[in-house]
């Protein structure tokens, strides 16, 4: 039974066999009782952890050379680099002992980039013309409209490109000789994103978990392995407790701090008096009525902390929500009776960020110290102000930091984090995929270069 035709979709071309298919033989390696026998499956569904190989060296040298070449070629090497990175990522992940394979090519990504350029050029032209005409009174109205349309068009394109890029990457993923693919429409996905963002201000943010769950359902129910379709029951209401916890963590401490500040300052009347006294002191130098004391200083401190927390918390607390969402989305996902479980925790996201932060800080400090030494030497040697040497040296150091950061980003945020995400996933009842039939989607790489490209590990 073809699930695509059930879903009202045109069937994708089934690969023509060049050899006669043979009856299945052989068990899953290490699977024991989970024989890959003829369906329906007998016995208990098998449990399988997904593996990710973080031990084999090769990532850091690849990142070092790739970043360097991308810089030297004004970014044109990035197409090759992207393919190299994906091959490495895909082949390090293994399900039931079989590694994944990335089958995309450089030429596909270059073609996708060129097509995207054709779409982006008119948007860019509209934006440039709009901002150019904006100062003229005569055309300000139409210029404003042009700029607005161009910005909306660009955001729309980014959402569209994100979906198309996922379609491309999914369709170039092979496991045990069968490909994944993605249906659905990038335009519809972009419209959904817009609709949900319009709702955010009206719902005071409460729509966010529902938006994210609906988009997850759209992405997953349009993802296929061969002729088998993923199902998702990702739910916004199930995420509500976690979201309320997130909101509480963001808004609770500032509220408490504000109350504390009010109390230490001694209430509304007292605050008014103290500001009056302070103003009198500044105007006349009269301090007979006293000045704001230690209580007021603490109040200011508490208010400062409250503001700091309001700005920082949405980012600092996000991993807590994101990790719980990741677990929930995984548990509510299935394909052909195969289920998933994730034991990913926020702590693993925090350690990722902390390691990156430590490396970045270390790099910055090292560069700061070396720059200081260079300046000191330049001063001691009494070089002329116009001498370019120290400037060039420090510019070079800055490039080195960028280089180091891009290597660290690839290693820590892409490979290590993907490893953590993959290794904490359990697949239940994998043998149920045994009757999958292969399908191929020859979609191009439109949007791939413009949507980050490496975002599979970035959450």
């Amino acid at each position: 039974m073809n699930e695509r035709s059930q879903a009202g979709l045109p069937p994708l071309p089934v690969q023509r066999p060049t050899v006669q298919p043979v009856p299945p033989v052989g068990p899953w390696p290490g699977g024991g009782a989970a024989a890959w026998g003829p369906l329906p499956t007998q016995g208990m569904p098998s449990l399988g952890r997904v593996a990710f190989d973080s031990d084999t060296p090769g990532v850091v040298p690849m990142a070092i050379w790739g970043s360097l070449l991308s810089f030297l070629t004004l970014g044109i090497y990035r197409f090759w680099f992207t393919v190299k990175i994906r091959r490495e990522l895909w082949r390090r992940a293994a399900l039931a002992g079989s590694t994944f394979e990335y089958t995309g090519t450089v030429w596909e990504i270059v073609k996708g980039f060129l097509v995207a350029l054709v779409i982006l050029a008119p948007i860019w032209a509209l934006y440039t013309l709009g901002t150019f005409l904006l100062p003229s009174r005569q055309y300000a109205g139409i210029a404003g409209l042009m700029t607005f349309v161009a910005v909306i068009g660009f955001v729309f394109f980014v959402y569209f490109a994100t979906y198309r890029a996922r379609r491309y990457r999914v369709s170039r993923t092979l496991w045990r000789g069968v490909r994944f693919h993605q249906t659905g429409s990038g335009v519809a996905y972009a419209f959904m994103n817009f609709g949900w963002w319009l709702l955010v201000p009206f719902s005071c943010g409460v729509s966010i978990p529902f938006a994210r769950a609906q988009l997850e359902r759209y992405r997953m129910t349009n993802t296929w392995f061969g002729d088998k379709r993923f199902e998702s029951e990702a739910s916004g209401s199930a995420m509500m407790p976690a979201f309320l916890l997130y909101l509480g963590l963001c808004l609770g401490p500032p509220l408490l701090l504000a109350i504390l500040a009010f109390v230490t300052a001694g209430g509304l009347n007292h605050i008014g008096d103290q500001f009056g006294n302070l103003a009198r002191f500044f105007e006349t130098g009269d301090r007979s009525r006293g000045l704001p004391g230690i209580g007021m200083a603490f109040a200011v401190l508490f208010l400062g902390l409250a503001v700091f927390w309001l700005v920082a918390a949405p980012f600092v607390c996000w991993p807590i929500y994101r990790a719980s969402e990741w677990r929930s989305f995984n548990e509510r996902m299935s394909i052909g009776g195969v289920r998933f479980r994730s034991d990913f925790t926020a702590w693993e996201l925090y350690t990722t960020y902390l390691v990156f932060l430590a490396i970045a800080t270390g790099l910055m400090m090292a560069v700061g110290i070396v720059s200081g030494i260079i300046f000191a030497i330049a001063l001691a040697a009494q070089m002329r102000e116009t001498s370019l040497l120290p400037v060039l040296l420090i510019g070079g150091l800055y490039l080195l930091v960028l280089w180091g950061l891009s290597v660290a980003r690839l290693k820590i945020f892409l490979f290590d984090l993907t490893g953590k995400l993959v290794r904490t996933t359990t697949v239940i009842g994998l043998e149920r995929l045994g009757d999958t039939l292969s399908l191929r989607d020859k979609v191009g790489a439109l949007g791939d270069d413009f949507s980050g490209g490496f975002d599979i590990g970035a959450i």
Partner: protein
């Protein structure tokens, strides 16, 4: 000689695993199980695919997505040695790599051609098409901002000694008449010690008082004003806007903003910008020569003025100077002096009037 051993085969149609035996012959790789031969792949169509380093994964161009996985260490070693010359993966095939490489070279060359020839050509074609009313509107928007930047300190502002303004108007009116600009020109002197002058979009020419101090004769000032009038007539301010937009499109949109390459892009833009302004300044100089000759003045005076400014600013300091935006002065001075010619002037500025211009900033 044949190589044989155990392997796992996926037929590319289902994810089912087939435990097989492989036989590598002279020109075919044969895959068989207990029931007989499953498939035989010609070596010419064989390819090596991505997998963990201790394993080998083979495919055939004849049977897309079918895979043969070899884990047995002895067999991996033997096959690796025997198949050393196989292409690694479809993406690494030489023809594709050459195509992509050629494309990159073509892209770099066309970026270069666009920067050197394309963008200036487009800008000079488009600039005359921009309606005068737009340029005036842009100028009205820009001028207060520029004046704000120049007039931050209390001592700065527009210089307006009545005698000086009147004398400057007399000096410039014949220049403006000879230049015949497409839009009304206003000339103002701003109190700032930097020796510089510039033309804003919309026909405003700002002369900084530092420049009034540096010029020795009225003709030198005429030369500089004629040069700035050249910018107004050529509509260089609008051209610059178009060129900047073109460069940011090229470097931002096409070349991409990839980590460190931002710096390379900025450097490229600055160099391209400097190159453009050199051509634009040369054109304005040529225009100044024509105007000076038309009103019967010595065009070499602009060269003298440049000399005086260059003497006053021996090296580029932290302030914007005439030199930084008007490059390669010695060349220009030489060219301007070559154009020297003495023609009887139409109107004269009295000593007192010239003194008033010099004292326009009391």
């Amino acid at each position: 000689m044949e190589i044989r051993g155990p392997a796992t085969y996926y037929d590319g149609l289902t994810p089912r695993m087939h435990e097989v035996a492989l036989v590598l012959g002279i020109d075919h790789l044969t895959i068989r199980d207990l029931d007989g031969v499953l498939v035989s792949w010609p070596l010419a169509r064989l390819m090596k695919l991505d997998v963990r380093r201790s394993e080998l994964r083979l495919g055939s161009a004849d049977q897309p997505d079918a895979r043969l996985e070899i884990r047995d260490p002895r067999l991996v070693a033997e096959l690796t040695a025997a198949l050393r010359d196989l292409p690694k993966a479809p993406g690494a095939r030489r023809s594709r790599a050459l195509l992509a490489g050629g494309l990159v070279v073509a892209a770099l060359v066309s970026v270069g051609l666009l920067v050197v020839f394309g963008i200036p050509a487009i800008a000079s074609q488009l600039a005359p098409l921009v309606p005068i009313s737009w340029e005036i509107a842009i100028g009205e928007e820009v001028k207060p901002q520029i004046l704000d930047i120049l007039g931050r300190s209390k001592q700065r502002g527009t210089c307006d000694s009545p005698a000086g303004v009147a004398a400057l108007a007399k000096l410039s009116s014949e220049l403006v008449e000879a230049a015949d600009p497409p839009l009304p020109v206003q000339i103002a002197v701003i109190r700032t010690p930097v020796p510089n002058a510039f033309a804003l979009p919309g026909g405003s020419i700002l002369v900084l008082s530092g420049l009034i101090d540096k010029v020795a004769t009225a003709d030198e000032l005429r030369g500089i004003l004629a040069h700035e009038l050249g910018h107004v007539v050529h509509r260089d301010a609008i051209r610059h806007v178009i060129e900047t937009a073109g460069l940011s499109a090229l470097f931002g949109l096409v070349v991409g903003d990839y980590s460190g390459s931002t710096i390379a892009v900025l450097t490229g833009r600055t160099l391209a910008d400097a190159g453009y302004s050199r051509e634009i300044e040369a054109a304005a100089d040529a225009f100044a020569v024509t105007v000076m000759v038309r009103i019967g003045r010595n065009p070499a005076a602009l060269g003298d003025a440049l000399d005086h400014i260059a003497e006053a600013t021996p090296h580029i300091g932290d302030q914007l100077t005439w030199l930084s935006s008007h490059p390669s002065t010695p060349d220009r001075v030489a060219r301007l002096k070559a154009a020297a010619r003495t023609v009887p002037p139409k109107t004269r500025l009295s000593e007192a009037e010239w003194a008033a211009v010099k004292a326009i900033c009391p």
